[in-house]
C-alpha cells in the first residue's frame, strides 16, 4: 500500500518538475521574443523620426515654392484675376 502511494507521488513529482521546466523554458522564450519585439519597436520609432525628417526636408516651403514655380509653372494670380466668393457669413 505504502509502496504504491510513494510510487504515485514520485510520478506526480516528476510530472510537476517536467511541467515546471517546460513552462520556465516557454517563459524565457517568450521573454526573448518580447525583448526582440521591443527592440524592433524602438527601431521603428527611430525610423519614423528619420522618415519625418526626410519628409519635412522634401516638403520644405522653399523647395515646394521652387518646384511649383519652375517645374509646374505656377504663379500667384495678380489682383485683377482674383474674384472673392463670399460664403453665407460676412
Amino acid at each position: 500500500m505504502m509502496v504504491r502511494l510513494n510510487l504515485l507521488l514520485l510520478a506526480a513529482l516528476i510530472a510537476c518538475s517536467l511541467s515546471l521546466i517546460t513552462s520556465r523554458h516557454q517563459a524565457r522564450k517568450l521573454f526573448v521574443e518580447l525583448e526582440r519585439q521591443q527592440g524592433q519597436s524602438r527601431a521603428y520609432e527611430i525610423e519614423y523620426g528619420q522618415l519625418q525628417l526626410e519628409q519635412s526636408t522634401w516638403a520644405a516651403p522653399e523647395r515646394v515654392e521652387r518646384l511649383s514655380r519652375e517645374r509646374l509653372k505656377m504663379q500667384i494670380p495678380g489682383p485683377g484675376r482674383i474674384q472673392v466668393v463670399s460664403g453665407g457669413q460676412k
Binding site: 524565457r28 521573454f31 526573448v32 525583448e35 524602438r42 527611430i46 523620426g49 528619420q50 519625418q52 525628417l53 519635412s56 526636408t57 520644405a60 516651403p61 522653399e62 504663379q75 500667384i76 494670380p77 495678380g78 489682383p79 485683377g80 484675376r81 482674383i82 474674384q83 472673392v84 463670399s86 460676412k90
Partner: protein, 576 residues
C-alpha cells in the same frame, strides 16, 4: 582447520586499540576544516563572491530616452533627435593594414592623412568622427579593426535650417540645449535614461528582467506657436528686403493679435543650425528679442493715445507745426517735411515730430509713462526665450522737457522688436495688451486693458490713414485688405551722439475690420539710398502681410478689383 576461536583471535589481534578513534578524529578534523572554510566564504568573502557570481549572469542595461521633438503649431517637426554613432579609437591599440585604414578613411569621409595624424596622437582616446550614420558605423565595424570602437549618441536635426534657427537655438554634446528654446526648455525636452537589471544567457540574450533600477523619462514634445509656412514667408521677404537695401541686419515679428501668439519670428543674418561651422556670435543672436533700438516714430501713436485720453484734444484738434522746427532749451526738433497747422490725425498720418512733441509737452510726464509702461515698454516681453532684453524706459520723474518731447517721437527710449509688436496689440484690439508667447495657445487669450476702447478705435483709424493717400506709408497697402500701421525712421545712437545711420521700421496690422495678423519689421542701417521706414520697411510689410492673409484664407475686407481681367505679365511679376 579453521575454527571459530582461531578466527576470533586473528581479528582481535589485527585491530590496534587506537585505530578507530584515530580515524574518527581525523574525519572530524577534516569536517571541521570544511566547516571553517565554508564559514569563511559565507561571512568574510560573501560580497566578492556574490558579485563574481552575478557578473556571470546579470547585467545592468541602460534604457535610452530620447530628447522630445519641437513642433510647429500644426505638428510639423522643427527639431528631431535621431541616434547616430561616434567612432573612436585607442591609437596605441589600433592594428590595421594600410588597406584597412584607407577604407576606414573612405567610409568616414575624412582625409587619410588626417586619419593618420589622429592615430599618431599617442595613447589617448580620440574621436575619429562624431555623428556618423548607423549604416556607415556598421560598415566600419565590418572592417574589424582592433582598437576602433563606436558609441551610441544622439544628433539633433533641424529641417527648417536657417529659417528657424534663431527661435529654436541648438543643442551641443549629449543633445543638451545650448541656445534659444532648446536651452530654455531643456528640462521639458531632455530625456533621462533609465536603467534595469537583467539575466542573460550564454549567447548574451536577455532572458529575464530582474529589477528596474531607474525608470527612463522620455523627453516631451514641445508645440510652438510658430506657423512654419508664415515663418518661411517672413524669412524670405525679410532677407530680400535686407539685401535690396544693403542693410546690416533686419528682424520681423508676426503675431496673432487675438491670442498674442508669435506666428513668425525671423532675423537676418541667420545661420544653419545643422552646420554651425560658419556661425559667428553675431549671426547667432536673436536680434528681435535680445537687441534693443530706439524705435522712432512708431512710438507716436502712444503719445497721441495719451493726449486723447487726457481729454485735452480730440482727433480733429488743430496743432500748429509751422515752421517745422521746435526749440526747447538749446535743442531743436525738426520735421522731415514742413507742414503748417495739422489736425491730431494728420500728426500721425504725416508723422510730424513737432506736432507729437507739442502734444507731449502739454501732458504730465506720469501720464505718458503710464501709457508706455502699460504698453509693455521697459519690461522684458516674457516670451519664454532666454536672454530677452527689457529695453529702457526711464522713470517719469527724471524726464526733462526736451526728453519728454523726444520721447514723444521715440527717441530717448529703447525697445526690442517683440515689445514693439506686442504694444501694437493695444490698437489691433480695443485697447488690450496681449501677453506674447512662443507656445501654442488653445483659444483667445485675455489681455490687460490699457486704453479705453473708443480711443483705441480712434488711433486705429489714424493708423489706417498712414497707409492711405497723403500718409507716410502708401507702400504698406495690401490689395483687398484694409491695413493700418505706422512707419518709423530713427537715427542711430553711437557713443552718445546721433549719427546719419538709420533704423527703419514699420508696425502694422490687417484686416482693420477684424485684425488677424500684426507684423513688425525692422531694418538696421539701410544703405542703398532709401532709409525712410515708408520706403524700406513698408514694402516688406506689405509683401509679408498680403501673402500671409491669402495663405490663411482671411476674407478680404476692402473692395478690391472684383472684375476678372485678362492676365497681365507685369502685374503678375509684381505680385511675386
Amino acid at each position: 582447520m579453521r575454527t571459530p576461536a582461531a578466527r576470533g583471535t586473528v581479528a582481535q589481534s589485527a585491530l590496534p586499540r587506537l585505530r578507530a578513534p584515530l580515524v574518527f578524529g581525523g574525519l572530524l578534523l577534516l569536517f571541521g576544516v570544511l566547516l571553517a572554510r565554508s564559514l569563511y566564504l559565507q561571512s568574510f568573502n560573501n560580497e566578492f563572491l556574490q558579485g563574481q557570481g552575478s557578473s556571470r549572469y546579470s547585467r545592468d542595461l541602460e534604457i535610452p530616452a530620447h530628447r522630445g521633438r519641437i513642433l510647429d503649431r500644426f505638428g510639423e517637426p522643427l527639431a528631431i533627435s535621431t541616434p547616430v554613432k561616434a567612432i573612436w579609437a585607442w591609437p596605441d591599440k589600433v592594428e590595421a593594414s594600410p588597406q584597412q585604414l584607407r577604407s576606414l578613411a573612405a567610409y568616414l569621409e575624412i582625409d587619410p592623412s588626417l586619419l593618420e595624424a589622429k592615430l599618431e596622437h599617442g595613447d589617448d582616446f580620440v574621436y575619429l568622427k562624431k555623428a556618423v550614420a548607423p549604416e556607415v558605423a556598421a560598415r566600419v565595424a565590418g572592417l574589424g579593426i582592433n582598437g576602433v570602437h563606436d558609441d551610441d549618441e544622439y544628433r539633433r536635426y533641424y529641417p527648417g535650417g536657417e529659417v528657424m534657427s534663431h527661435v529654436l537655438g541648438f543643442t551641443g554634446d549629449g543633445d543638451v540645449g545650448l541656445e534659444g528654446l532648446e536651452l530654455a526648455q531643456q528640462p521639458w525636452l531632455g530625456g533621462i535614461p533609465g536603467s534595469r537589471r537583467v539575466i542573460i544567457n550564454r549567447r548574451g540574450e536577455v532572458v529575464e528582467d530582474v529589477a528596474s533600477i531607474r525608470a527612463p523619462q522620455e523627453g516631451r514634445d514641445l508645440a510652438l506657436s510658430i506657423d512654419s509656412r508664415l515663418q518661411y514667408l517672413a524669412f524670405r521677404e525679410l532677407k530680400a528686403a535686407v539685401e535690396a537695401n544693403k542693410a546690416k541686419a533686419g528682424g520681423l515679428v508676426m503675431l496673432d493679435p487675438r491670442t498674442g501668439e508669435i506666428l513668425a519670428l525671423v532675423n537676418w543674418p541667420s545661420y544653419n543650425p545643422n552646420n554651425r561651422a560658419r556661425a559667428t556670435r553675431d549671426r547667432l543672436r536673436n536680434r528681435a528679442l535680445t537687441d534693443s533700438f530706439e524705435p522712432g516714430s512708431t512710438l507716436k501713436p502712444f503719445t497721441i493715445a495719451t493726449a486723447l485720453e487726457s481729454g485735452k484734444v480730440g482727433p480733429k484738434s488743430i496743432i500748429d507745426t509751422s515752421p517745422g522746427t521746435l526749440t526747447i532749451g538749446n535743442a531743436t526738433i525738426h520735421d522731415a517735411h514742413r507742414s503748417g497747422p495739422l489736425t491730431v490725425e494728420e500728426v500721425i498720418q504725416k508723422s510730424s515730430n513737432v506736432g507729437a512733441a507739442k502734444l507731449a509737452l502739454a501732458l504730465p510726464p506720469e501720464a505718458m509713462w503710464d501709457t508706455l509702461s502699460g504698453a509693455g515698454f521697459g519690461v522684458p516681453p516674457r516670451t519664454g526665450f532666454p536672454g530677452e532684453v527689457a529695453g529702457r524706459l526711464r522713470p517719469a520723474k527724471s524726464w526733462r522737457p526736451i526728453e519728454q518731447a523726444t520721447m514723444a517721437y521715440g527717441h530717448g527710449i529703447s525697445v526690442n522688436l517683440v515689445q514693439l509688436a506686442r504694444a501694437y496689440t493695444i490698437f489691433a484690439t480695443d485697447g488690450e495688451l496681449k501677453p506674447v508667447t512662443l507656445f501654442k495657445e488653445a483659444g483667445p487669450v485675455a489681455g490687460r486693458p490699457v486704453l479705453k476702447p473708443e480711443i483705441a478705435r480712434e488711433v486705429r483709424h489714424m493708423l489706417e490713414m498712414v497707409v492711405g493717400p497723403g500718409g507716410t506709408a502708401p507702400k504698406a497697402q495690401v490689395i483687398g485688405y484694409r491695413v493700418a500701421g505706422k512707419t518709423g525712421t530713427a537715427h542711430k545712437l553711437e557713443g552718445g551722439n546721433y549719427v546719419n545711420r538709420y533704423v527703419s521700421s514699420f508696425v502694422g496690422f490687417a484686416p482693420v475690420s477684424n485684425p488677424r495678423l500684426l507684423v513688425a519689421v525692422m531694418i538696421d542701417e539701410p544703405s542703398a539710398g532709401q532709409y525712410y521706414g515708408g520706403s524700406v520697411a513698408a514694402p516688406c510689410f506689405s509683401n509679408v502681410m498680403g501673402t500671409a492673409l491669402r495663405l490663411l484664407g482671411v476674407a478680404p475686407d476692402a473692395p478690391s478689383n472684383n472684375v476678372i481681367l485678362p492676365a497681365e505679365g507685369a502685374e503678375i511679376q509684381e505680385e511675386t
